[in-house]
């Protein structure tokens, strides 16, 4: 069953169209990663899922209920991209307020549990403005999940967190998923999207360009990528037979092959030129796919500018 059903949704802000004819299904109990360049429509889509803004056209159903007719009922927790909390309240009082507002049955007990869970217990009596940026972010994460909603929408949950804090938030999200919570999260970190999310949705210029599991997305592109580690680095790799584009990652180069091109020919040409330490034919990484989609448009925009 789908936790979220988005059908033909379009959203405009004045003359700017933020989302165009978007349809998407998010299965219950999954972690769905939203990726896309800045300004592509991720946050707008998330706000519409939460019910903060409404589509100009189309419909969004959350747990089967039309969002336009649904008042906030505590079943959805939301961590916005722009962080903001009442800074003069104590951490505990603030979280209890959010918990009560989201319908938690025992706000104080829930707050204490989550403060312990994210190693913030001793910060409970302190004011929010005394916290570091990372701690504030963890507090805001708790505010989003403290009422243990069935759906949590997290806009860039790991940005600004140190690796230890990011790990504890990651573990918390996985625990929530294990208990049946559906998680929608956006990220600019392709590695996180690849390793953490059950499904990935990419939005670009307001339109859906990718949707599905990492496997299915990569399958759609096929094994068209060669990873090479060769002496002399990326020198004249683009001159090899069948190579369409070269992505220099420093020590390693990724060569995208033309459809039907034979990688063995490229390997022979390369061996004739230099010694090769590593050569593998693989499917493109999510980051590579992202760049393939986003870069041409960016270059075109820059050319017009």
């Amino acid at each position: 069953m789908s936790a979220i059903e988005i059908r033909d949704v379009t959203k405009n802000f004045g003359s700017v169209t933020a989302v165009v004819d978007l349809s998407l299904d998010v299965p219950e109990g999954s972690i769905y990663g939203f990726i896309g360049p800045n300004g592509s429509g991720k946050s707008t889509t998330m706000r519409m899922i939460v019910g903060i803004s409404h589509p100009d056209r189309g419909s969004i159903r959350v747990f089967g209920e039309e969002m336009s007719a649904r008042a906030p009922d505590g079943r959805t927790g939301y961590l916005p991209e722009e962080r903001g909390l009442y800074r003069k309240m104590t951490v505990s009082a603030l979280l209890e307020f959010h918990a009560a507002l989201s319908g938690a049955r025992k706000p104080q007990a829930s707050v204490n549990k989550w403060l312990r869970r994210l190693n913030l217990s001793e910060w409970g009596p302190r004011r929010v403005d005394a916290l570091s940026k990372g701690m504030t972010q963890k507090v805001q994460f708790i505010a989003a999940v403290v009422a243990e909603p069935k759906l949590i929408v997290l806009d860039e949950p790991f940005s600004g967190l140190d690796p230890v804090s990011a790990e504890s938030v990651r573990e918390a999200i996985l625990e929530l998923r294990a208990s049946g919570t559906t998680v929608v999260m956006s990220t600019h970190d392709m590695n996180t999207a690849e390793t953490f999310c059950d499904s990935i949705f990419m939005i670009f210029q307001g339109r859906k360009v990718l949707d599905g599991s990492l496997e299915s997305i990569q399958d759609a592109y096929g094994a068209d990528t060669i990873r090479v580690r060769a002496e002399g680095g990326a020198t004249r790799m683009e001159a090899l037979s069948g190579v369409e584009a070269v992505r220099d990652l420093g020590q390693v180069q990724e060569l995208r092959m033309r459809r039907g091109a034979d990688p063995q020919i490229a390997l022979r040409e390369l061996l004739a030129r230099t010694s090769v330490a590593e050569f593998s034919v693989t499917r493109p990484s999510l980051e590579d796919i992202f760049v393939r989609i986003a870069k041409p448009a960016e270059m075109e925009e820059n050319a017009h500018a």
């Binding site: 939460v50 008042a71 906030p72 722009e82 909390l85 009442y86 309240m89 959010h98």
Partner: protein
């Protein structure tokens, strides 16, 4: 409703737990009332320093006559019944005017006034005793100085007596015949609707009749300003800190604004309760509890709630529309218009509470709380139909403003960047 109460509770506690609230509770009446306090202190301690006045006399007759009359009146009125000196001693010196060098004489005397050697000089023209014209007062007194009006009365009376004596009439007997009568102000007679008896209503306390409505209006003004004014920059700041986006996932924009308005009402009721209790204790301590307008307190609270709902709704919408607390402060004039305009109308309404002007302006909804309250507190009261129409009007107006404000608030909350123009705000109000 549960969410509205939660938001109201949070906002209320965060407002009243601040030092600024406690400080404002004490300081606001002192600041707003400092003018009255100064006037009261000045009345209690009048200026009794000696005042030297030179009479520059063109007649050789009027000078001594005026000096005698002023000295006599001064001696009679110098002290009150308790023996306390309540006015300055006037020392008058007569100087003959020299027409050939009158300009120099005036300049010399003016310089002495500037050097504070003289309080003033009075030039007595040649025709003063016959035509009454030609008395000129030169001083550094302000427009509301008391010296000129007091002397004017005494000198006028002296010259009338002089003229009567010159005509062969007995000025003393005529003075007695011309003695003014004073009107004693009484309350209107009324019939007790239960017993049917006609009740004597006694002498009207003119000071109380003015002070009670004025102070009620003033208290309303002060409490409304104190509870609504901080809201606009506070909401703009919360918006700038991006506090609302997360809250909107748990509560609707209408629940947010309703909670905030309810908190403002609770803050205003807290302040009012403190002020009203303090006033009642003070009146009791001064054995003046009879002056307490107890019957007006429910009306005061009713009008206060209506006015705070209107102003807090406007403050919330404008605060959300602003990009920063500074921008919000610049819109203060729009917010305070519903209390400042009726405050400016208070004087004509107090003077003629039953006039067409007073009736019409007190029925304009945003002005109703202050002006209807003022009129109701006056002894004449207000016809029931007017209070009914006024109440219905302000109730409907409050609901309308809260509804429009909620529409603006909902759109404005998530807007960032350049503050919206007035037409944009109006468009949000209409389209939501």
């Amino acid at each position: 409703m549960r969410k509205v109460l939660l938001i109201a509770k949070r906002d209320y506690l965060s407002a009243v737990r601040t030092k600024a609230f406690v400080f404002g509770l004490i300081i606001a009446p002192l600041l707003f009332g400092s003018g009255f306090i100064v006037v009261g202190l000045m009345r209690a301690r009048p200026d009794i320093a000696e005042r030297r006045v030179v009479l520059l006399d063109h007649t050789a007759v009027a000078g001594p006559l005026i000096a005698d009359a002023v000295t006599r009146a001064n001696r009679e009125q110098l002290r009150d019944k308790t023996g306390r000196q309540v006015m300055p001693v006037y020392t008058l010196e007569t100087e003959a005017a020299r027409p050939a060098e009158i300009e120099n004489q005036r300049l010399e005397l003016s310089n002495q006034v500037r050097l504070r050697k003289l309080f003033a000089f009075l030039e007595i023209g040649p025709d003063v005793l016959t035509s009454g014209n030609g008395l000129s007062w030169y001083s550094n007194e302000g427009g509301t100085g008391e010296g000129r009006p007091w002397l004017s009365g005494v000198i006028g009376e002296a010259i009338v007596h002089y003229r009567l004596a010159q005509s062969g009439m007995d000025s003393v007997r005529i003075g007695e015949a011309l003695k003014r009568v004073s009107l004693e102000s009484m309350n209107l007679i009324q019939k007790d609707p239960r017993s049917g008896r006609i009740e004597s209503s006694g002498r009207k306390n003119e000071v109380a009749a003015f002070l009670v409505p004025f102070l009620l209006a003033f208290l309303l003004f002060m409490v409304v300003m104190g509870s609504a004014a901080p809201m606009m920059p506070a909401i703009a700041e919360d918006k700038m800190q991006r506090v609302f986006e997360m809250l909107l996932a748990s509560a609707t924009a209408f629940e947010l604004i309703a909670g905030k308005v309810l908190a403002a009402v609770a803050v205003s009721l807290t302040s009012s309760t403190v002020y009203i209790l303090a006033a009642l204790f003070a009146l009791n301590a001064l054995s003046m509890f009879g002056l307490a307008p107890l019957a007006m307190i429910p009306w005061f609270l009713l009008y206060l709630i209506a006015e705070v709902v209107v102003l807090a709704s406007i403050a919330t919408a404008l605060g959300a529309a602003c990009g920063s607390p500074q921008a919000a402060q610049s819109l203060g004039i729009i917010l305070f218009a519903p209390v400042i305009i009726p405050m400016m109308m208070l004087s004509p309404v107090l003077q003629r509470p039953d006039s067409a002007f007073a009736t019409v302006v007190s029925l304009i909804p945003p002005f109703t709380p202050m002006l209807m309250l003022t009129r109701q507190a006056l002894p004449a009261g207000v016809p029931v139909w007017q209070t009914s129409v006024g109440l219905v009007g302000i109730a409907l107006f409050s609901i309308l403003i809260a509804w429009v404000a909620a529409r603006i608030f909902r759109v404005a909350l998530l807007m960032q960047g350049k503050p919206p123009s007035l037409p944009e705000i109006l468009r949000w109000a209409i389209r939501g």
